[in-house]
Symmetry: C2
Subunit: 357 residues, 2 copies
Amino acid sequence: MSEPKKRPTIRDVAKAAGVSVATVSRTLAGDYPVAAATRARIQRAVRDLDYVVNAHARALSGTTSKIVAIVVHDTTSPFFAHIASGVEQQATEAGRLCLVCTTHGDPDRELEIVKLMREQHADAVILVGGVFESEEYLERMSRYAHGLAEAGSKLVLCGRPSLGRDIPAITVEYDNTGGAFAATAHLLSHGHRRIAMLGGFAGLTTSEQRIQGYSDALTAYRVPVDPALVSHGELVRASGYERTSELLRQGTEFTAIFAGNDHVAAGALAALREAGKRVPEDVSVIGFDDTPFSEDLNPPLTTVHLPHQELGRTSVRMALQANGSSRQHVMLGTHIVVRDSVAAAPRPDSGRSRGRA
Amino acid sequence: MSEPKKRPTIRDVAKAAGVSVATVSRTLAGDYPVAAATRARIQRAVRDLDYVVNAHARALSGTTSKIVAIVVHDTTSPFFAHIASGVEQQATEAGRLCLVCTTHGDPDRELEIVKLMREQHADAVILVGGVFESEEYLERMSRYAHGLAEAGSKLVLCGRPSLGRDIPAITVEYDNTGGAFAATAHLLSHGHRRIAMLGGFAGLTTSEQRIQGYSDALTAYRVPVDPALVSHGELVRASGYERTSELLRQGTEFTAIFAGNDHVAAGALAALREAGKRVPEDVSVIGFDDTPFSEDLNPPLTTVHLPHQELGRTSVRMALQANGSSRQHVMLGTHIVVRDSVAAAPRPDSGRSRGRA
DNA sequence: GTGAAAGCGCTAACAT
DNA sequence: ATGTTAGCGCTTTCAC
């Protein structure tokens, strides 16, 4: 076991090139007039010694950390994965490294992570996805925002609602309510009136917005909202499966399902199939997210497309733009992707669907 | 715009608590005897000032950077996403932050990233997935390994073959060849003899191994390998779709498909369906990966399960274990998940499949 | 165009 | 148990 011979420092390079460390630093930074000959000697030394700067030393002496942090609930869900991908790409283009952390939806963990990000002096911290907007949340977020701002980091809220003028945070949202409205209206315009809504956890901002869009659409069509048709739960496949099975078991009447996201839709599809219901002949299903696998579901899923990548890229862009004030607000659009899971509502007397009353 | 009032430093805390910086440092580190009263005063000061350490300063003065880096081709593919998730979780449990970078399969980009990781003094650098094993690759990887080792980082090769004793790198593989063998044997044991292999890019380590497993199984069953049945390409859905369509168009005879991964399988399924072939009655299909959406394909896909999460976790664990030498080697197992896409080969004269000769 | 030197905020000896 | 101090490796005035 040979001594881990210490890495060369800028001083070693300076010595090897016969110049001062200042000159080496300037040459490496590239933003300063340096004689061509000197530069060449330095670059040679760098190569010979296999020198790389120490990012911590650099970050410590003033300049930026070159790090962008993104915090998500979970990295494997396509919703987060695609947003993260957008962040990563844009960060890379901006010469930044990308730190990824997960909270699994735990607010305390989120708090802890934001603290870690402050320690890292990340250039930007991007908080993604829904949260429970309690009083406590507001207060906490306000502290985050200030702490980060003082540490010189930009805070961006991605896919979660704006907090208003007094808090230094950039907001990059997608039109959640609008998307849910469109999805519901799509079903409504196909003649469906009994539409089950498989929502997310009650209280979570994203869930509430989607349910809001659902209600708004119903109201616009003068269809009363039946509480028996809306349920809350985790937006995962198993939950979609269970909630749909339960609806069927209870004998609740419905001709369409608006799933809180595509995972839930996949579960609903499976439950329906198992119960012998045909989609879309007996029951129509519409999803939310438009993740890549949606087109391979059985049948291919009609769903609402969210601009995941763009959400991520925009977040980074806003945070990093030089003259950017904190507290900007952008809202990205959504649109429906029509595939094969929605059809006209079956005639009420056709008897295939629920009870022949 | 108020002055960005500078963040408090350890010195401010020391002053506020009426102690020396050393005491503060020790208290915060927690690994040193400090009088209860003193500790309390310090913690109070920390809270009052909203102090957080500067990770760069800490990293600079000797100790570790608390960072684990993972480099993947692409973050959105479930294969990488799930491995990354395992890495992230284990890193978090070990009190590390997780840096994620993507190469999009570009070896030069990989080189660049490894350099960045050296700058960051990451505790561990985990390179994930297949590579093109050229001479150049070997040489390059050897340089990586030494550069990283000198910077005090552990290098782990995850899901790529070991490089042998002389290179300081930990290898965490899954049984790629074995998995491919099992998949092919599964088809063979169902009576299939004409099995199309939709492989990955030629030259990529992972592709070669899977094709090797395929050939080995065929050979074990004394079935000749027909080059017309094996193709190379990107392991994405579109490629699976196109290659399958092409096979059909050419009139190549086959009763089963071994897809290089589940995305390719999804594409193959779509192409088959479009061509009026039933799966598994006319053609059987087996995938590779077992990503969550596989069970929702039409029909639910029989596939080879890879221990993604475990691969990630193990990589971190090996790299971080105190007494761990560099250059260990672990191989994780795989297994077949049976669903509905494989059935007995159709009787050759049943006429449903390819040419009635 | 180049050098000298003062930190950046922290940890780890080394004292006491 | 606590304090003093010397760096860690780099950037950045300020001189020349």
